[in-house]
Amino acid sequence: MDSAKQADESKKGHEKPRSAKDRFGGAIFVVGSLLVALVAEFLLPRLIEDSSVRNILMTICCNAVVALSLNVINGMAGQFSIGHAGFMALGAYTAALIVSAMHTSFGGGTLPPTSFDHDYLVAFGHSFAIVPVALLAGALVAALFGLLVGLPSLRLRGDYLAIVTLGFAEILRLSVATTRLGNDETVGEAVHAIGGPNGFFGPVFHVGSVFLSSLGGKKGYSGPDGAGVPLYAGPFWVIFITALVALVAWRLKFSGWGRALRALREDEIASEAVGVDPTRYKVTSFVISAFGGGLAGALYAIMRDGNPVVQPDSFTFQTSFDAITMVIIGGSGSVTGAILGAVFVTVTVKLIELVQHADVVQNLSSSLEAHGFSLDLNALRMMIYAGVIIALMVLRPEGVFGEREPFFKKRMRTREGAPA
C-alpha cells in the first residue's frame, strides 16, 4: 500500500488545524439565529396577519423541539420511549404556573397587542425575565421525572422502557384530568393543615390533591384568574429556543458522547468491553430527552398565537405517537430528519384541520350526522401516517434520511479525534 498515504492518515489524528468555521461555527450560529429571531419578532406579525398561520409556524418550531428531544433517546440511543407527551405535559403545566405567577407579580392585566408601542416593548422586556425561568423550570421538572422513570427501567433491556413511559404519561394525564375537588381550598390553606389534628401524611396527600385540582381538571389550566395563561413567548423566543435545541442536538450527535451512544446501540457487550457504562449512557440520554420534552411542552404552553389553556387532552397517547412519527419518518438518529418530520406532521395536522372546517366538509358532516353518522377527518390523519410508515418500512426501513444529515455532507461522521 501507499505508505505516504498512511503516514498522512495517521497524522490527521495529531494536529488537524481546525478551520474558523469549525471553531466559531456554534457562536456564529447562535448570533445568527438571535438576529433572525429578533427580526421575526417584529416583522412576523406584520408580514403574516392571520394568527392561525403564525400559529402553524410557531407550532412547527415547538414540534421540532419535540422531535429533536425524542430523537436523542429513540434515535441516537435506540431505546423506545412512547410517553414523550408526559414530559411535555410536565413542562407545559410548570411553565404555565410560573408564567402566571410572575405575570401577576409584574402587575397582571392582559398582554398588550403586538402594536409595537410602549406597552408592548415593556412586555417584551419582561419576557426576558419570565420566559427563560419558565422554560428552564418546565424542562428541569420534566428531567427530574425522566430520571425517576429512567433509572429503574433502563437497567433492563428490551421493551420495559416503552411500557413504563406509556404508563407514566397516561397516569400523569389522568391524574390531572380527573382530580377535581368541589371546594375552593387553595394550596396554601392545605399546607397549613399539615401537622394539624389530622396528622402528617393525610394532609400532605391532601395538599397534592388540592394542587392537582387547582390545575383545572379536564377543562385545563387557564391562568390565575381564568383569563388564560399569559402568552409571553413571541416569535423571538420560539425561534431562538428551537435554533438552540437544534444546535445542541447536532453537537450531541457528533460528540464523543454521541459516538458512545451509537456504539451502545450497535453492540452492548462490545461497548461495555471498551468501558462504556450502558446504564449511565441510557439514563443520561433519557434525562436529556425528557429535558427537551419539558422544554417543548413549556414553549407550547406559553407561545403567542397559541392556546392560552393548558389541557390534559393536548398530551394524550396521540401526542406521543405524533412525536414518534416525526422521528421515524425523518430517520431515527438524524437531526435534520427530526426537524423535517416535525414540519411534515405539523403541516398535515393543520391542513386536515383546515379541510375539516371548510364549508363543504361541514355541510357534508352535518348531513351525515342527520343519518346517524359522524365525519371526523382527524381519523384520516392516522390513516395517512400509518400509510406513510408502512410504505417507509417497505421501501426505506431507516426513514427518509436514515441516520444521515442531508445538506451537511462534510460532517456526516464524528469529528476526527473528538475526545470521548
Binding site: G13, H14, I269, A273, G417, P419, A420
Partner: protein, 252 residues
C-alpha cells in the same frame, strides 16, 4: 511498539502474579458454569486456556471483565480485588477484552471503532500515538480507516477488535477465540501479531479452541473441562501430553 501504557505503573512485585484467580465459581441461573477454577498469570506471560465447547473458557474471560457476576472465589489483579469492580473500572485498571465473535461496531468507521477503544484516556496525543502503533501492527486497518467496520472481512474485523482493545493501552489483554471462523492464513497473521504484542511486553490471556495454535504461542496453558481445570502446565509439555493429543490435537 509502545502499546502497553507507559505511565500505568504496576505495583506487582516480582514473584507475585499479575492476575490470580482462586476458587472461582460462576452460575448462569441454576447452571454452574465454573466450578471453582484457579489460575494465575505473571507479568509478560502469554497463558492460554483451552478446552471443548461449554468448558467455561469464555465464561472465565467474561467474569474477569466483570460482565458476569461471581458466585464465589476471588479475582485479584495487581493487588486489587476485581470482584468489587465494574466493567468500566476493569477497563480503566488496564484489562482489555477482545470479545468472542469479533464484536466490532459494524456501522462505525474503522477509525471510530479504534477511537472508541481509547474511551478512557481522553488525551489526543496518546490516542494518536496508539493509533499509529495499531496501524503499524495491522497495516490493513491503516488502509481502511475511513471504511465502515462491517465492510471488512472476517479476519480484518478480528484485527479491528484486537486493535480496538489495544487502543485502551492495557496491561493485560484478554483474547477470546481470535481464530474463530477465520481463514487459516489470516489466523496465522493474527497469531503473528499476538506474538509481536507479547514481545512488546504485553501480558496476554488467550482463550482458544485451536489448541495447536494456542499452545504454539503460549508459555503456559490451562485445560478446562466442564467448568474445572483438568490439566495445567508448560505449553510445550502439554503439546506432548498424550491425553491432549488424543482429545484436542486429533491423535498422534
Amino acid at each position: 511498539m509502545r502499546i502497553a501504557h507507559p505511565t500505568r505503573a504496576l505495583r506487582t512485585k516480582t514473584g507475585t502474579p499479575l492476575l490470580s484467580i482462586e476458587g472461582l465459581e460462576v452460575h448462569y441461573g441454576g447452571i454452574r458454569a465454573l466450578k471453582g477454577i484457579s489460575l494465575s498469570i505473571d507479568q509478560g506471560e502469554i497463558v492460554s486456556v483451552i478446552g471443548a465447547n461449554g468448558a467455561g473458557k469464555t465464561t472465565t474471560l467474561k467474569t474477569i471483565s466483570r460482565l458476569l457476576p461471581i458466585t464465589a472465589g476471588t479475582i485479584r489483579y495487581d493487588d486489587r480485588d476485581l470482584g468489587a469492580m465494574s466493567t468500566e473500572e476493569v477497563v480503566e485498571a488496564g484489562i482489555s477484552l477482545v470479545p468472542e465473535g469479533r464484536a466490532i461496531f459494524p456501522n462505525l468507521t474503522v477509525r471510530e471503532n479504534l477511537e472508541l477503544g481509547a474511551f478512557h484516556h481522553k488525551h489526543r496525543q496518546t490516542m494518536a500515538e496508539t493509533m499509529e502503533d495499531v496501524t503499524k501492527l495491522f497495516p490493513r486497518l491503516g488502509e481502511r480507516l475511513g471504511q465502515d467496520g462491517g465492510t471488512l472481512s472476517g479476519g480484518e474485523q478480528q484485527m479491528l477488535a484486537i486493535g480496538r482493545a489495544l487502543m485502551a493501552r492495557p496491561s493485560l489483554l484478554l483474547l477470546d477465540e481470535p481464530s474463530l471462523g477465520i481463514a487459516p492464513k489470516l489466523a496465522q497473521q493474527i497469531f503473528a501479531a499476538i506474538r509481536t504484542i507479547a514481545e512488546a511486553g504485553m501480558t496476554i490471556l488467550l482463550v482458544e479452541q485451536n489448541t495447536r495454535l494456542a499452545l504454539s504461542v503460549s508459555r503456559r496453558a490451562y485445560v478446562l473441562r466442564t467448568g474445572e481445570v483438568s490439566l495445567e502446565g508448560d505449553a510445550k509439555d502439554l503439546a506432548k501430553n498424550e491425553e491432549i493429543q488424543k482429545a484436542y490435537l486429533g491423535g498422534v
